[in-house]
C-alpha cells in the first residue's frame, strides 16, 4: 500500500509487548511539524482468557482517545480511519494506524550456514537485524558431530529457519548437507501441530534445486538472493524482507487476533526489535551520525548500533535485570559488580541470596537505597557484558582477503575486526526499566558512561517511554515525521559526555577545558576525575579541550578539539578516568573513588553515606 506522506496528519501507533500494549498518538502541529501528543497502555491480551491481541490494542487506544477527546474506535470495535469529524464536528479517527509486536516471546529463529564465521554469521546478522531471537546457529564447522546437530534441531522449536551457505557459483555440497541434517530432524514449530515449518534459503543460488530435494512437504521452502553472494559482499536485505514476510504469514497469523490486527494496519506489522533497528538506521542516515541504543529488560539486553551506515543488533539472551539477574552476577563475578558499590557492610552471602530472590520474584523493586545501588551496579555489568558481545559480533566481514600496502605493515587490522568505535560514537540511547526508571537522570547517565565507556564527544539520551518501536514502523511510511518525533519527544537528552582515552595517569593532568555559549566555564581535570558542568536542556555551547601528551579526545593524542555540545537534564559530563575505567584494586580505596564520582554527579547527596 502506498501512502502519500502529505495526506498524513494524525498517526496512531501501538507496540504489542509480551505483557503491555503501548499506544502513542502523533499529530501534525500548526507549524507543520509532527509531535507526539498522547500515550496510553493496557495489558496485552494474547493469552487466555482473552486470546485476542486486538482487545488490548483497543483498550490502549481508547485510553488515548479519552485523554485526547477524540473518538478513535467505532461502535464495531474498529479503529476509525481516516481522520475526520463526526456529525457534531468533533475530531475522530486517525490517518494511519501502525503496529509492532513482540507478544508471545517475539520471533524465534534457528539459522544455519556452512562456515560458522562466514555464511552462518551473516545469516545470524540477517535474523537479528530482522528482530528475531536466534536460538542456535548450525554450521558445518561448529564443533558438533552431525548427529549432535540433528539432536539439537529436534529439541528446538523455532518459528522459522534461515539457511545460507556457499557463495554464488561456489560449493553446493556443503550447504545441501546442512539441509539434509535439518530435514530428518523434522523441527517442530512452537505454534500448532498443523503449522508447516517455514525455511528461507539464502545461500548459493545454484544449490536451490538440491536444497529443495532435501526437504519434503513438512517444510515450506522459500528461496531468496544469497546473503553472501561473494566473500567480500554481504546482502542481507532480501533475507530480512523474507523473514518479515514469513513472520506475518506464518507466525503472526497463528497468534490469536493478529489476522484481525493485520487488516487494520496501514503498514506491515514489524517485530519490535526490527522496528527499533529501523528508526536507529533512519536517524543515523538522516543526521549522518554513528548511534548506539540499548534496551535492557528483565530477561535480555538488546544492543543496536549504526557505525558508518552499517547496522548491527545483538540480543544477549541471558543478561537481564530480573529473570536473568543471577546469570549476570555469575558471568560478571560478584567482585566486578561490587566495584560499583560505594556503600560498606554488604555481606556477600546475603547479596547472593538477594540476587536469587530477585530471580524467582522478578517483579519486585528496590525499596532501600542500598538495594538500588546494588541493582544499578548489576546493571552496569549486564550492559558492559552485552556491549562486549556486541563489539565481538559487529565486525567487518570475516574470510575476506585483505590487500595490504607498505603502510599497513605495522597495522594489526584483519578481516573480522569490530566496527564499533567508541571514539566515533555520536549518540548513545538508553531504554529499559533500570535505565528509564532510575530515580535520578544522573544515575542513568553514569550507568551508560561506566558500561559503554564512550570516548571523545558523545550525546547521552534516554527513550523513557520506549517509543522507538512505534517510530521504527513510522519511518517506513513517513521518515520525516518519525525523525521529528524521535528528536523532540522520544529522546530525553541527558547531556554530553566528553571523555579522555589513551594514556591517562591518575592524579596527573589529563586535559584542560573551556566552554563558551549558553554557559561559560573552564577548568582542568586530573586523571581519575569526573566533573559535572551545568548545561541544561535546550542550551548549547562550544567546548574546547586540550589534552595532555598521549591523551586522545577525538583528534589524536595530545591534539586539542573543539565541539558543539548540547545540554540536557544532567549536563556536561567531563570524564578523565581513562579507558578502560580501572578502579583501585583495594575494595576500600575503590569505594572512596566511586563515592567521589557519585557525589560529583549528584547521584548521592551531601550528608548521605
Amino acid at each position: 500500500m502506498t501512502i502519500d506522506p502529505n495526506s498524513i496528519n494524525v498517526i496512531l501507533a501501538t507496540d504489542c509487548g509480551s505483557t503491555t500494549t503501548k499506544s502513542v498518538f502523533i499529530e501534525r502541529q500548526p507549524d507543520g511539524t509532527f509531535r507526539q501528543t498522547q500515550r496510553g497502555e493496557a495489558p496485552t491480551t494474547v493469552e487466555e482468557p482473552f486470546a485476542d491481541v486486538t482487545i488490548g490494542v483497543i483498550n490502549a487506544v481508547t485510553e488515548i482517545g479519552e485523554v485526547a477527546g477524540r473518538k478513535l474506535v467505532d461502535e464495531d470495535g474498529r479503529i476509525i480511519q481516516p481522520a475526520g469529524t463526526d456529525a457534531d464536528g468533533n475530531p475522530v479517527g486517525c490517518d494511519i494506524y501502525i503496529s509492532t509486536s513482540s507478544a508471545g516471546g517475539g520471533l524465534q529463529m534457528m539459522v544455519g550456514g556452512v562456515v560458522k564465521q562466514m555464511t552462518a554469521e551473516s545469516a545470524k546478522r540477517a535474523a537479528l537485524g530482522a528482530g528475531a531471537i536466534v536460538m542456535d546457529t548450525i554450521a558445518a564447522n561448529d564443533g558438533r558431530k552431525p548427529h549432535e546437530q540433528i539432536q539439537r534441531i529436534r529439541e528446538l522449536r523455532p518459528d522459522m529457519i534461515l539457511l545460507s551457505g556457499g557463495t554464488d557459483g561456489g560449493d553446493e555440497k556443503k550447504v545441501t548437507e546442512i539441509a539434509e541434517r535439518i530435514a530428518p530432524a523434522r523441527p517442530q514449530p512452537r505454534f500448532g501441530s498443523k503449522f508447516v515449518m517455514p525455511v528461507i534459503f539464502a545461500g548459493n543460488k545454484h544449490a536451490r534445486g538440491s536444497v529443495d530435494n532435501a526437504f519434503d512437504e513438512s517444510i515450506d521452502l522459500q528461496c531468496v538472493d544469497n546473503l553472501r553472494p561473494t566473500l567480500e559482499e554481504e546482502n542481507l536485505g532480501p533475507a530480512r524482507d523474507a523473514i518479515h514476510d514469513m513472520f506475518l504469514e506464518h507466525v503472526m497469523a497463528q497468534a490469536p487476533g493478529y489476522d484481525k490486527l493485520m487488516g487494520w494496519t496501514s503498514a506491515p506489522i514489524m517485530p519490535t526489535p526490527g522496528a527499533v533497528g529501523n528508526i536507529l538506521t533512519t536517524i543515523a542516515e538522516r543526521q549522518g551520525k554513528n548511534a548506539l541504543a540499548v534496551d535492557i529488560g528483565g530477561a535480555t539486553t538488546d544492543v543496536f548500533s549504526v557505525f558508518d551506515g552499517v547496522f548491527n543488533r545483538t540480543v544477549s539472551a541471558n543478561l537481564g535485570m530480573s529473570y536473568s539477574i543471577s546469570n549476570v552476577v555469575a558471568e560478571a563475578g560478584l567482585d566486578n559488580v561490587l566495584r560499583w558499590v560505594h556503600l560498606e557492610g554488604m555481606d556477600d552471602r546475603e547479596l547472593r541470596n538477594r540476587v536469587k530472590n530477585k530471580m524467582i520474584r522478578p517483579t519486585t523493586i528496590p525499596q532501600s537505597r542500598e538495594a538500588l545501588v546494588f541493582e544499578q551496579a548489576v546493571a552496569r555489568e549486564a550492559l558492559r557484558l552485552a556491549y562486549v558481545r556486541h563489539k565481538e559480533f559487529a565486525t567487518t566481514l570475516k574470510g575476506v582477503q585483505q590487500q595490504r600496502t607498505v603502510g599497513d605493515t605495522f597495522s594489526q587490522k584483519t578481516s573480522g575486526a569490530t566496527i564499533v568505535d567508541a571514539m566515533k560514537l555520536d549518540l548513545l540511547v538508553a531504554s529499559g526499566g533500570v535505565l528509564s526508571h532510575a530515580p535520578r537522570m544522573s544515575q542513568t547517565a553514569l550507568m551508560l558512561v561506566d558500561a559503554f565507556e564512550p570516548e571523545g564527544f558523545t550525546t547521552l539520551a534516554k527513550d523513557s517511554i520506549f517509543m522507538m518501536p512505534h517510530l521504527g514502523v513510522l519511518a517506513s511510511v513517513h521518515a520525516e515525521a518519525s525523525e521529528q518525533v524521535f528528536t523532540r519527544d522520544c529522546l530525553v537528552v541527558l547531556g554530553t559526555c566528553v571523555a579522555a582515552a589513551g594514556d591517562v595517569k591518575w592524579g596527573k593532568p589529563a586535559f584542560s577545558w573551556e566552554m563558551r555559549g549558553s554557559q561559560n566555564a573552564e577548568g582542568e581535570l586530573l586523571g581519575g576525575q569526573l566533573k559535572l558542568v551545568e548545561l541544561t536542556a535546550g542550551e548549547t555551547a562550544t567546548v574546547t579541550v586540550k589534552p595532555a601528551r598521549g591523551i586522545d579526545l577525538g583528534a589524536g593524542p595530545g591534539n586539542p578539539v573543539a565541539h558543539e555540545v548540547t545540554g540536557g537534564s544532567v549536563g556536561l559530563i567531563l570524564d578523565a578516568r581513562g579507558r578502560p575505567i580501572a578502579l583501585p584494586e583495594s575494595r576500600d580505596e575503590a569505594r572512596d573513588v566511586v563515592e567521589g564520582w557519585y557525589r560529583e554527579l549528584n547521584i548521592i547527596d551531601e550528608g548521605d553515606a
Binding site: 548427529h147 530428518p184 501441530s193 529473570y323 524467582i360 520474584r361 522478578p362 528496590p366 525499596q367
Partner: protein, 375 residues
C-alpha cells in the same frame, strides 16, 4: 483504581485440580474416560523416533556423490543391523573390492545424490506419561493424552529442582522454624517426601540422597548450597530436568527463612499420605511453580480461613508476605492502601501499602514487593 491485584502462591487444603497430561508427540492413550487412575499409572505412550546417523558414503567409498547409489547394497526403508554391508566398490577388474559396513543398527531413511550421504535412523525410544495426579480421567485427548481431575490439598512452592516424584509425606522437623539438617534424615525415610521447616543445607540433601528420599520440601535454601547441589551456579530459573537424585521444593525463597506456618501445618496434617511433587519451575511468561499435590480424603480437616478473599485482591486485613528486603520473608496483614504513590528510600516513586506485622510493628512497602497468601 478500586482494587489492586497482587498474585500469590496457592497454599490450600482443598481445591479442584485439573491436570493435562500429554505426550510430546502423537501416540496412544492407555486409559479410558471416567476411569480412576493412580499417580504412577501410565496414561499415554508414544515411540520417539530414533537418533539420526548420517553416513558420508561418498567419502567412505572414495567415489563422487552421484555414483554412491549404484554401489549401495541397501535401499531406502530397509532395516540394517550393525555390521551389515551398506555398499561395495566395483574394484579393479572385479578384484580389490572394498566394503562399507554399518556402524549402527537402524532403518535407511534417505540417500542423497548431491552429497552422497546416507541417513540411518536408529531404533525408536518409548516415552510414557504417568498420571501424576491420582484421580478421575475426565477427558481423553485422542492420540495426545488425558485430563485428570481430583480434589486435592495443593501447595505451590516458589522454586524447585528435579522433576516429578512420588511418596508419603514425612515430617522431619518439629517446627516450621527449624532448619533441615542431616541429623533429621533417617533410614526409614527412603522413598518419602521429607518436609523440613526452614533452610535445607547441602549436607542434608546429600544425606537424603544416600538414604533414597524421593523429595524434600523446605522453607529456604542458601545460594551456595544450591550451587553445591547442582554443581553449577544457576543463572535462570528454568528447572525440572536436573538429575541430582531427588526433587527439592522450596516454599519461601533463598536464605535463612522459615517455612510459612500455615504451609507447615497443612503438610503436618497430611503426614503419611501419598503425595505427588514436581520441582519444575519456569519463571518467564507462562510462569510455572513447583508443587506438592495430596488428594483429599473424606475425613480431612479443611482450613479455609482465607477463602473470604477474592483471588489476587489486595484489601485491608488481607494476609501477605513481603518478598524483598528490608523486610524479606516477613508475614503480616494489609493495614492501609494509600491511593497516592510514595517516594521510597531508594528515591523511586511508586504505589505502596502499609503492612502490620503484629505486635504494633508497621511498615510501608511497595505493592510490587508483596505476595498474597492465597487460600
Amino acid at each position: 483504581m478500586g482494587q489492586a491485584y497482587t498474585p500469590g502462591l496457592k497454599v490450600t487444603t482443598d481445591t479442584l485440580l485439573k491436570q493435562r497430561r500429554v505426550l510430546p508427540l502423537r501416540g496412544e492413550v492407555m486409559v479410558q474416560a471416567n476411569t480412576t487412575v493412580g499417580a504412577q499409572d501410565v496414561v499415554a505412550r508414544a515411540e520417539l523416533p530414533g537418533d539420526i546417523m548420517p553416513i558420508n558414503m561418498a567419502n567412505r567409498l572414495s567415489v563422487p556423490p552421484g555414483d554412491v547409489r549404484s554401489l549401495l547394497q541397501v535401499e531406502q526403508g530397509m532395516q540394517i543391523n550393525k555390521g551389515d554391508v551398506l555398499a561395495e566398490t566395483k574394484g579393479i577388474f572385479g578384484l580389490m573390492k572394498s566394503k562399507v559396513l554399518s556402524d549402527h543398527s537402524g532403518v535407511v531413511e534417505s540417500i542423497s545424490d548431491t552429497t552422497g550421504q546416507l541417513i540411518l535412523r536408529g531404533p525408536s525410544t518409548p516415552v510414557e506419561v504417568l498420571a501424576y495426579l491420582p484421580g478421575k480421567v475426565v477427558e481423553v485427548l485422542d492420540g495426545e493424552g488425558v485430563v485428570i481431575e481430583n480434589q486435592v490439598s495443593l501447595i505451590q512452592g516458589i522454586f524447585g529442582i528435579g522433576g516429578e516424584a512420588f511418596g508419603p509425606i514425612c515430617m522431619a522437623t518439629s517446627s516450621h522454624e527449624e532448619a533441615l539438617e542431616p541429623s533429621h534424615i533417617t533410614d526409614n525415610m527412603r522413598g518419602a517426601i521429607v518436609v523440613g521447616g526452614a533452610r535445607v543445607s547441602h549436607a542434608a540433601v546429600q544425606r537424603a540422597i544416600e538414604v533414597g528420599v524421593a523429595g524434600i520440601v523446605a522453607g529456604g535454601v542458601d545460594d551456595a548450597d544450591l550451587k553445591a547441589m547442582l554443581g553449577y551456579d544457576l543463572g535462570v530459573a528454568i528447572t525440572g530436568s536436573e538429575r541430582i537424585g531427588l526433587t527439592v521444593v522450596i516454599t519461601e525463597g533463598f536464605g535463612e527463612i522459615a517455612m510459612s506456618e500455615r504451609t507447615f501445618r497443612i503438610l503436618q496434617s497430611r503426614e503419611g499420605r501419598q503425595a505427588s511433587v514436581n520441582g519444575a519451575t519456569q519463571i518467564r511468561a507462562g510462569v510455572m511453580r513447583p508443587e506438592i499435590v495430596i488428594p483429599v480424603e473424606a475425613n480431612d480437616a479443611h482450613d479455609n480461613a482465607e477463602s473470604q478473599w477474592e483471588a489476587g485482591q489486595l484489601a485491608i486485613g488481607r494476609p501477605l508476605r513481603v518478598i524483598r528486603d528490608p523486610w524479606f520473608g516477613r508475614i503480616g496483614t494489609v493495614s492501609s492502601l494509600p491511593a497516592e504513590p510514595a517516594v521510597l528510600d531508594s528515591g523511586s516513586r511508586t504505589r505502596v501499602l502499609e503492612v502490620d506485622f503484629g505486635n504494633g510493628e508497621k511498615a510501608i512497602v511497595p505493592r510490587a514487593n508483596v505476595e498474597l497468601i492465597e487460600a
